[in-house]
């Protein structure tokens, strides 16, 4: 049993869902994604218990002779943690879509599973070429999900979605060039070999920037973010969740796994520029979130702010920064899915995303409002939620790098509270007369799962810390050795 099983299940699940027909699709998808999560969790457990886990649980097989590509799915702490995020969120996301009366459900859920497959593949690939393939592959399902099941004006949506696709595709093509370039040196795409490519200064710069372009667009880091809010707003909730919950983590993960170890000198030399850019994104996103009148757009900008901080932490190239980034990725993944789900629930009942049209919901929905409140609080990183753990570590790593970065980045805890509470007040509080049904059982289950994760790991993050730390240390050793 090794990590390739996760991918097999997801891919097979995608096909099975597609063939199962509209009636059964959602259930089949849920079943497969849950099994995938179970397998991932079991593998993680095995990772702690077996000797030499990376060897035992990895999968590698020759794939293409020319270029030399190996089907290498590696089980290390980082990849398992990210795979866990993917497989844990997928069933939740599927669960959140149960109440949506989509046409062509089979395709919809099939695409979700296929997306999960591609994303899990991205996280697990140890071979750069393979990684790139999965990276690009994940674009296709989300493109179709957003295009075909999205809301709002069709023309606007098309515009937003096509912009998103072309934009991210553009970024990743430059990453492909970077990979090809290094491959010419190494003759292999395996991460280890790529790390040891021995590039000179100019080459490192070009490669770093090529990677940066790809990641900056996907994360997104300002000023490459303009696709984000529109797509988040227009995609169906499940698509937005996939995008914000998992897909953008692909890029953050890649910074740690690919960009920094491959171009460590350049990163070390100019890290402050990139940290500053990311931190600027934190402020920029937060301030913009304040001005939003559309709930989903507000959440999109808040996401921009949060991931900016994560990216900044990653660029500090310290253990704290890395670990904080990984933990915050996981935490943000859950919280943002929860928040978008809350927005979706409101949209289902009120048929609007405009904050001005909401209000007074709390009067009618004790359960929903409590859940939403907890998610809001997690999002503003209240201590004892998982987000605090990540954010604390991130800010600490920034403080180690430069105290002013931490101060400016830390403004997120003020501004974040500002816009989130303002949003909560306008959306949920106040007086209102419109009927609003409280959450259904299925909706409630999805919320409870998310909140349970956020609170549990907020208090006891140790298992995750122990999972990722050795791998991150290893990566840092590479980076340090090489520089």
């Amino acid at each position: 049993m090794n990590v390739s099983l996760i991918l097999v299940i997801l891919l097979f699940g995608a096909l099975a869902t597609w063939y199962s027909g509209d009636k059964w699709a959602s259930k089949v998808a849920l079943a497969f994604s849950t099994v995938a999560f179970g397998v991932t969790a079991f593998l993680t457990y095995r990772f702690f218990t077996v000797d030499n886990p990376t060897v035992t649980l990895s999968f590698s097989k020759m794939w293409i002779a020319n270029p030399r590509v190996v089907l290498f799915f590696k089980a290390d702490g980082l990849s398992l943690a990210m795979a866990l995020l993917t497989t844990a969120l997928t069933p939740i996301i599927i669960l959140t879509s149960f109440a949506n009366l989509f046409p062509r459900k089979a395709s919809f859920y099939g695409l979700i599973l296929f997306m999960a497959f591609a994303m899990a593949g991205t996280f697990l690939s140890e071979d750069g070429f393979l990684y790139y393939i999965f990276w690009e592959l994940s674009l296709i399902p989300i493109y179709f999900i957003a295009l075909m099941w999205g809301g709002g004006d069709a023309e606007e949506r098309k515009k937003a979605v096509v912009k998103f696709f072309i934009y991210t595709f553009a970024g990743s093509l430059f990453m492909l060039l970077a990979f090809i370039y290094i491959y010419q040196r190494t003759g292999s795409f395996l991460a280890f070999n790529l790390y040891n490519a021995r590039l000179n200064e100019t080459e490192e710069m070009l490669i770093f920037l090529a990677f940066f372009l790809a990641y900056a667009i996907k994360i997104p880091i300002i000023p490459f973010h303009t696709w984000q809010a529109n797509v988040y707003q227009k995609a169906p909730a499940a698509g937005t969740m996939l995008l914000s919950g998992i897909m953008l983590k692909m890029a953050l993960f890649s910074i740690i796994k690919w960009q920094l170890p491959i171009a460590p000198h350049f990163a070390e030399k100019y890290k402050y520029i990139f940290i500053a850019l990311c931190v600027a994104g934190v402020i920029y996103g937060s301030i913009l979130a304040l001005k939003q009148t559309n709930l989903k757009k507000l959440l999109a900008y808040s996401s921009l702010a949060h991931v900016g901080l994560v990216a900044a932490g990653a660029y500090t190239m310290t253990l704290d920064g890395f670990r904080g980034a990984v933990l915050q990725m996981l935490a943000h993944g859950f919280v943002v899915v929860g928040l978008f789900f809350a927005a979706e629930i409101i949209e289902r009942r009120f048929a609007t995303q405009e904050i001005a049209d909401m209000g007074g919901i709390r009067l009618k929905t004790p359960v929903f409002s409590s859940m939403f409140m907890i998610l809001v609080l997690a999002s503003v990183a209240l201590p004892s939620t998982f987000n605090f753990v990540g954010e604390f570590e991130l800010l600490y790593s920034l403080a180690q790098a430069n105290i002013w970065m931490a101060v400016v980045g830390g403004l997120t805890i003020i501004l974040g509270a500002f816009y989130m509470l303002r949003m909560f007040q306008q959306v949920m509080l106040g007086d209102g007369t419109r009927a609003f049904a409280d959450v259904t059982v299925i909706e409630g289950v999805a919320f409870v799962l998310i909140i349970a994760v956020l609170l549990f790991f907020g208090v006891y993050p140790k298992p995750l810390v122990e999972l990722v730390t050795p791998t991150l240390n290893e990566l840092l050793t590479y980076i340090k050795q090489l520089r």
């Binding site: 020319n66 592959l137 696709f165 010419q184």
Partner: protein, 496 residues
């Protein structure tokens, strides 16, 4: 040679079959015959054949080096035969209104195939000239094959005039080369080309020949005919031109360039680079505004020609051959898949406007899926074949640049790949126009339910499977042209 004879024979059988009123047997016979030839060719290809064009010397002893059967020509021949099989399979349904002429269409395609094969398998310039002319004349005929349709007339006329003009250039080029070296035999020319006292005409001749071929592959600025002719010709002819003819021309161009003149001058390569960049960018940019699918695919074809010209950034002839072959396979099979869907959708509509594709995702999901995959493959998105094709090309260009001693080399390489990347990005814009039409627009109200003939569907699905299969096992295609692990294993296990 036996391949050529067999195919030409098949063509003649088709014509005879018509005489004996065996019209229904024409297509099956030719397809079965072609499959047999294909198996034979692939078998020869895998088993042996010299790997390099440089090994041109007197391979086909019996034929006075008129034809050579190295891996390069065999591999491309198999590709052409495969494409011809697809094209012929599409014929009967396409020409169902002109049943009596079916034998002519099929036979013309078979003769066209012989021309294409002669173009890549030549060992002698006269063979090459005959090949290219057979191919061209067949295409003139096919382009104008709807005499009552003004568009078809115009396409045929334009193609003919410009094609004949280009033929003149090619001929002039050949004459000058002959004048400089005293022989049409490529092996002789190759040795002579290296001698220092080569008359200047040789280079002029070579350049004129190249321009003629650049015209055939529709590279900027010799591309003007392509969109008009593609649009005006009957769709099946367009399919032939954009797949078989284009691929044959680029394969011939590459072979010619390295067979005649193994050390190409830097100036020449620079010209090719400029042409490549211009083709990629102009093709993709102009495609953005097109509303006719055939015209759009014509511009897309121009840009693909530009990509394929990157192959002249040579770093290792074997790799270059294999990369070109791979690109040709990926491009032409995706093209066949796309055209199979275009034929299915627009076959009875008279034009190929994009709105005809509205809602195809709902009315016929399978065809929509095939077209989507074909377009994604052309756009170079993994895990489809087109991605590996582009990957190999970029990889070759970069490796050439990185291994060049001067800084200029790497800068050139970077400019080339970045131009390629930028144009790939642009290309997504119009490929997605079609995809959006299929998936996010409602079906046209007045459209009748789509009746898709079996042959169209079969071709679409087979080519679709090929796109994916080649994407998943890229070695599959490469093994035709270079010795891969796959081939070694097959030989070891006595499969071939």
């Amino acid at each position: 040679m036996e391949i050529l004879i067999a195919i030409a024979g098949l063509g003649i059988i088709c014509l005879i079959a018509e005489i004996f009123n065996a019209r229904k047997a024409i297509v099956p016979i030719s397809i079965v015959g072609l499959i047999a030839v294909l198996v034979y060719t692939v078998g020869r290809c895998l088993k042996g054949g010299k790997e390099f064009i440089s090994g041109l010397a007197m391979d086909g002893k019996g034929y006075f080096n008129m034809l050579v059967s190295d891996k390069y020509s065999l591999a491309f021949s198999s590709l052409f035969i495969l494409l011809a099989i697809f094209l012929i399979a599409l014929s009967p349904d396409f020409h169902k209104n002109h049943k009596p002429k079916l034998s002519d269409f099929v036979a013309t395609k078979l003769f066209l195939l012989t021309g294409a094969i002669a173009m890549v398998a030549f060992g002698n310039l006269s063979m090459f000239f005959l090949g290219i002319e057979v191919l061209s004349i067949s295409l003139y005929v096919l382009a104008a094959s709807e005499p009552k349709n003004l568009k078809s007339n115009e396409a045929g006329m334009k193609y003919f005039l410009m094609g004949a003009f280009a033929s003149g250039l090619i001929l002039f080029g050949i004459a000058l080369i002959y004048g400089a070296t005293g022989s049409f035999d490529t092996a002789v020319i190759q040795t002579k080309a290296l001698s220092p006292d080569l008359p200047k005409w040789f280079s002029i001749g070579f350049v004129l020949l190249s321009i003629g071929l650049l015209f055939k592959i529709a590279a900027v600025p010799f591309h003007f005919w392509a969109p008009d002719v593609y649009e005006g010709s009957p769709a099946l002819t367009t399919a032939t031109m954009s797949t078989l003819a284009k691929v044959a021309a680029i394969a011939a161009f590459f072979k010619l360039a390295y067979a005649l003149n193994p050390v190409l001058s830097g100036r020449f390569i620079t010209i090719i680079n400029v042409v490549a960049i211009a083709s990629m960018l102009i093709g993709n940019l102009v495609a953005l505004k097109q509303t006719n699918v055939k015209r759009m695919l014509a511009f897309s074809g121009i840009s693909h020609a530009g990509y394929m010209l990157l192959i002249f950034q040579l770093h290792g002839l074997t790799a270059a051959q294999s990369n070109l072959f791979f690109y040709a396979v990926a491009y032409s099979i995706a093209g066949i898949a796309a055209f199979a869907v275009v034929l299915s959708v627009c076959g009875n509509k008279g034009d190929e406007q994009i709105f005809n594709f509205n809602g195809l995702g709902k009315t016929n999901p399978v065809l929509a899926l095939v077209l989507t995959c074909a377009l994604l493959s052309m756009a170079g998105i993994p895990v489809f074949a087109g991605f590996f094709a582009k990957f190999n090309l970029f990889s070759q260009v970069l490796s050439k640049g990185m291994n060049s001693p001067s800084a200029q080399g790497i800068i050139t390489a970077l400019i080339l790949v970045i131009a390629a990347v930028v144009s790939s990005i642009i290309s997504v814009g119009y490929y997605f126009k079609l995809i959006i039409a299929m998936y996010s627009k409602e079906p046209n109200e007045d459209s009748q339910p789509l009746v898709v003939p079996f042959a169209y569907k079969a071709v679409a699905i087979v080519s679709f499977v090929l796109i994916i299969a080649i994407g998943l096992w890229p070695d599959l295609a490469s093994s035709l042209i270079r010795r891969t692990v796959l081939v070694e294993n097959m030989i070891k296990n006595k499969i071939i």
